[in-house]
Structure formats: structure tokens, C-alpha cells
């Protein structure tokens, strides 16, 4: 087995046993990136030099007999909408193509404190708006499990590099499924934490009430290690919850008690979900039942309006958040303009791609005078109804199990011209963002065309430990997830 194929938890053990050095680990992952990037295209920027410097510091610490933190020496990739000081951060948009943040996002500060070598910034849909990473201004990313297919999105780069072995773990962001959907398509694990668990300071805002940063890994334990390192209250983000967290990773091997009730909401297994996906997810559910857990059919009827409410609320917030891109304070400015108004309009029209324009326009429309009640306020009412349904459901069950996506990865270009078809892939994931709930996607076998299927587990708010233990149980039962893709 090559070094880049090892999990973060194995690498951490080998580092401490001095079987491997941090420099050897980072070097192996970086050379894997060099060998696969041409085919995969997961990175916007590779930061090899800086990563090797961090790894060398970890080795010095180990040589001096000092304690190191759990992610020390573990190569990690960071989505390109997360600000990195003095390192270009583009959100895969032309309008930020020359933006060099003067500060770090809080999660990046935490990774640096851990001494995790950051190997690069990953490609994404422009401003995280998309489900295939095809709206990126920078490049296309290919799914390492089948290079003709999309990696999903918007965190497609972060999922693809973990699947390709050109990063051991990574960070993405999830506003409507942007971590879980690409995790499902690329056959890796992706966690969207409870809203308010991970600081959004330094995350380029899309829809602030829905956005949440979260980790990718090839195993549940690796994903949990990153989550444990990045969560916590942050004075710079008032929406982070004021609470303390129990340690997590050491508890993952504790099985869930017999009699744990797992809800299967019928709305997530309806029309529009591929048969092979339903079968795979039901087979997974049966493993829980065999272990003494109880499967309960539940109903979350407002799910049917989840996409509607999501696209209204997310676009409304985006239209407001993206008004800051005006060619004055940072980013691209158009070359020819007569007055201020013209400068704004041309800068934005030249700087944003079509999908971003559509979302800004939808958001502007639903907030505009005369329409706000019929669209935005109604969507907010549906959001509250949906949240209440989850509150009620969690009186009856401990966890909820659904498919992550209704299908498997589609081919590049297949849905680019049809926004609605693209949006439909988010149908099982957007409801969690609307409710602020945590969810994890884990690989759940392969479909007929040899493409990964994703299983989504949902727990009550702030109960990520239960969620990760349930995911770890499944991983164990099936004898582990697919590792690095052969490329």
C-alpha cells in the first residue's frame, strides 16, 4: 500500500510510532497530486512548498519528543471559498480571481494550530452555486471513480481529491448538500455539521443562515478527526453556539444500543429516486435491523416543498451577500466605464458566471416589493414547518436514514443547460440545511454502472456523536469503504 492510500488515523499512529515522518507523508500525497491532477483537476491552487514546511516542523517537534495534536502531519485540502491568509482564494469566480485574503478563516487557524499541512485549495462551483463543479470559472473537475462523470458539487474538488488520494482529508462547505452530494458521487464520507457548530468566519458567504463548513474523509474516523478539530464557538461568528463539546473520536467504536430507532421517511424513497439507490439504502437499513435496532417508517410531508423553499431562501440571501462585489473594495473591476452605476453593472456582469447571475436575479425577485410575501415569507413559513416536522420525528426515532442523492454521478455536460434538472439532485439534502440539522453521507455500495451510491444519516441537533457512531457501525458491518480510486 502506498503512503497516500493510508487513512488519517493510520498515518497518525505511524507518525507517533516513528514508522513514517510527516515529510514522507506529505511528499507522497503531493506526488500523487502531481500524477493525478491532469486527469482529475481537483485543485485550483497547490501549495506544495508551504505544506512541506509545515510537515518539516511536525518532524522537528516529534524529534524533540514533544506532543503533537491529532491532525499534525495529516495532509488536508481546503475548499477555495475558505479564506487563507496571503494565499489566493477565488471561490472559483472570475470576480475574485485576484483576491488574496489578508486573514485566515477560523477553521484555517485551527488547522494551522494542529499543524496539518494544507496541500492546496480545491475547485468548486462558482460561489458554491451548483451541483457538479461545472460552474467553476477556473476548470472542470472529473470524478476519480469515472473520469467522464462529474464529482458533484459544489465541493466537488474537495471530494475528488480525497477520492483520488491527492489529499488525505479535506474541508468543504454545505449550503444545500454541497458536502454530502459530492461525497456520495465520489464514494467518500462527507459530514455537514449542525448549523452553529463550526465557525463561518472567513467562509465566503453564499446563504449565511444555511452555510456550514464540514469535513471529507475516506473513513468515518478520519472525518470525525477533522470535525473534532474545527468545531467550537468563535467570537468572530456570533452564530456559533455557546456550548462545550465532549471528546468524540475515542467514542466512535462504542456501538449504538440495541433498540435504537431508525426512521425511514417515505418522502425520501419516492418517485424520482432511482431503484438501485432505494435498494442499496434499504439493504443498509436491514443491517441496522439485524443488529437489534428498530426500523420505523415515518413521514415528513413538507419535504416535498423543501426544494422550493430552499431555492427561494438561499437565493434571497445570496442576492444580498453578493451585492458586496462591486469592483470597489476587492476583486475584479471592469476596464471601461463612464460612471459609478456603469462600473457596478459591468464589473458584476463580466465577473459573475450565468448560474450566479440566475441565483442573484431569483433572490432579487423574491425579495422585491410586491413579491416578498408570496415567495420569501411563504418559504420561511415552510422552513419552520419543516423544522417542526423534524422535531416531532425525533420524538419517535433516534436517527433518520435516507439516500443522499436520488441518483449516481452524471456525465459532464449532461445537465449544464437545464438548471432545474441540476437542482433536483439536491432533493434529499436541502431539508437538513433548512432545519439546521447535521447529516453525513457514507458510501453505500455501487450501482449498475459501477458508480458509488450515498447513504445519508441524520441525527438531532448537536448529536453528531450518535451520527458518527451509526456511520462507523455501518462501515464496520460492510468491511470498510472504497479507498483511493485507481488512476
Amino acid at each position: 500500500m502506498e503512503i497516500y492510500e493510508l487513512s488519517a488515523s493510520d498515518l497518525a499512529k505511524k507518525l507517533r510510532a516513528k514508522e513514517l515522518s510527516a515529510s514522507e507523508i506529505t511528499k507522497s500525497v503531493l506526488s500523487r497530486a502531481e500524477n493525478t491532477e491532469e486527469e482529475v483537476g481537483g485543485y485550483v491552487t497547490l501549495t506544495s512548498e508551504k505544506a512541506m514546511e509545515t510537515a518539516a516542523k511536525v518532524d522537528e517537534k516529534i524529534a524533540a519528543g514533544e506532543e503533537i495534536l491529532p491532525l499534525a502531519g495529516i495532509p488536508i485540502a481546503v475548499k477555495d471559498n475558505i479564506c487563507t491568509k496571503d494565499l489566493r482564494t477565488t471561490a472559483s469566480s472570475k470576480i475574485l480571481s485576484n483576491f488574496v485574503p489578508p486573514y485566515n478563516a477560523t477553521v484555517v487557524e485551527k488547522l494551522e494550530a494542529q499543524m496539518a499541512p494544507i496541500v492546496g485549495k480545491t475547485n468548486m462551483d462558482e460561489f458554491a452555486m451548483g451541483s457538479s463543479t461545472e460552474t467553476s470559472y477556473v476548470k472542470k473537475t472529473h470524478n476519480p471513480r469515472d473520469l467522464n462523470r462529474v464529482p458533484g458539487g459544489s465541493s466537488g474538488g474537495s471530494a475528488a481529491v480525497v477520492a483520488a488520494g491527492s489529499a488525505t482529508v479535506s474541508l468543504g462547505s454545505d449550503t444545500g448538500g454541497s458536502i454530502r452530494q459530492p461525497a456520495a458521487y465520489c464514494g467518500v464520507v462527507g459530514l455537514k455539521p449542525t448549523y452553529g457548530t463550526v465557525s463561518r468566519y472567513g467562509l465566503i458567504a453564499f446563504a449565511s443562515s444555511l452555510d456550514q463548513i464540514g469535513p471529507f474523509g475516506r473513513t468515518v474516523t478520519d472525518t470525525a478527526m477533522v470535525f473534532e478539530a474545527i468545531r467550537g464557538r468563535d467570537k468572530k461568528d456570533a452564530t456559533t453556539a455557546a456550548r462545550t463539546y465532549e471528546s468524540l473520536v475515542q467514542n466512535l467504536e462504542t456501538p449504538l444500543p440495541k433498540g435504537t430507532r431508525i426512521g425511514l421517511p417515505k418522502e425520501y424513497f419516492g418517485e424520482g429516486v432511482d431503484e438501485e439507490v432505494k435498494e442499496a439504502v434499504h439493504a443498509a437499513a436491514q443491517l441496522y435491523e439485524k443488529a437489534g435496532m428498530e426500523l420505523v417508517e415515518i413521514s415528513l410531508p413538507t419535504t416535498d416543498y423543501g426544494l422550493n423553499a430552499y431555492y427561494i431562501i438561499a437565493s434571497a440571501e445570496a442576492s444580498s451577500n453578493l451585492s458586496r462585489f462591486d469592483g470597489v473594495k476587492y476583486g475584479y473591476r471592469t476596464e471601461e466605464y463612464g460612471n459609478l452605476e456603469e462600473m457596478y453593472c459591468r464589473t458584476r456582469s463580466e465577473g459573475f458566471g450565468d448560474e450566479v447571475k440566475r441565483r442573484i436575479m431569483l433572490g432579487t425577485f423574491v425579495l422585491s416589493s410586491g413579491y416578498i410575501d408570496a415567495y420569501y415569507k411563504k418559504a420561511k413559513a415552510i422552513q419552520r414547518g419543516l423544522r417542526q416536522e423534524f422535531v416531532d420525528a425525533f420524538q419517535k426515532v433516534d436517527l433518520i436514514l435516507t439516500p443522499t442523492t436520488p441518483d449516481t454521478a452524471f456525465t459532464l455536460g449532461e445537465r449544464s443547460d437545464d438548471p432545474l434538472k441540476m437542482y433536483a439532485t439536491d432533493i434529499c439534502t436541502v431539508t437538513l440545511n433548512l432545519a439546521g440539522l447535521p447529516g453525513i453521507s457514507v458510501p453505500c455500495g455501487m450501482g449498475k454502472s459501477g458508480l458509488p451510491i450515498g447513504l445519508q444519516l441524520i441525527s438531532p441537533w448537536f448529536e453528531e456523536e450518535k451520527l458518527l457512531r451509526a456511520a462507523r457501525f455501518y462501515e464496520n458491518e460492510i468491511g470498510g469503504f472504497p479507498g483511493v480510486a485507481s488512476l
Partner: protein, 89 residues
């Protein structure tokens, strides 16, 4: 609901190329048709989560980023200020 994409673009401070207006009009119309299918639902109170409160920081002055670092990304700067086209005639 029929929409006027030119008007929405104007409100959004976007200029659409003439050859793109038809495409955007159609796509935006489809999007609006999709999202507007929502039932009437009773307005629920937004519940406050007392166990996981969000706390505003105190209104205190702290040192922050340096002015020159913040201005580094601006397209045009003069004497420590952002430069924009003349606004007042």
C-alpha cells in the same frame, strides 16, 4: 407569475447581453414556476434554542487588520482611500 428578466437584472445591477436575454428569460421563468408551487401554511413562531444560544460580542474596540493590508486587494487606491468614479456633479 410572469416575470420581466430585464427589470430583475436592472434591480440586481447586472447587464444582460442582448443574445442572452431570451435564455435567461426562459430559465428564470422556469425557476419561478418551480418555486412558486407552495401551499399556504400557518406561520409558526421561530423557536429559540436556549441550550445553544448565540451570543453577540460586546461592543468593544479591539485592534483589527491594518488599513494597508485591507486596501491591498482594492482595484484603485489613493491616499489610503478607495477610488471610484465621480459621484457628485
Amino acid at each position: 407569475m410572469e416575470i420581466d428578466v430585464r427589470r430583475i437584472a436592472e434591480l440586481s445591477k447586472l447587464e444582460l447581453k442582448e443574445e442572452q436575454v431570451e435564455m435567461f428569460q426562459k430559465q428564470m421563468q422556469n425557476m419561478v414556476d418551480m418555486v412558486e408551487k407552495m401551499p399556504e401554511v400557518a406561520e409558526l413562531e421561530a423557536p429559540l434554542d436556549r441550550n445553544n444560544a448565540m451570543i453577540l460580542r460586546k461592543d468593544e474596540i479591539h485592534s483589527s487588520l491594518r488599513r494597508e493590508d485591507l486596501l491591498k486587494n482594492a482595484p484603485q487606491v489613493e491616499a489610503g482611500c478607495f477610488v471610484v468614479p465621480k459621484v457628485v456633479e
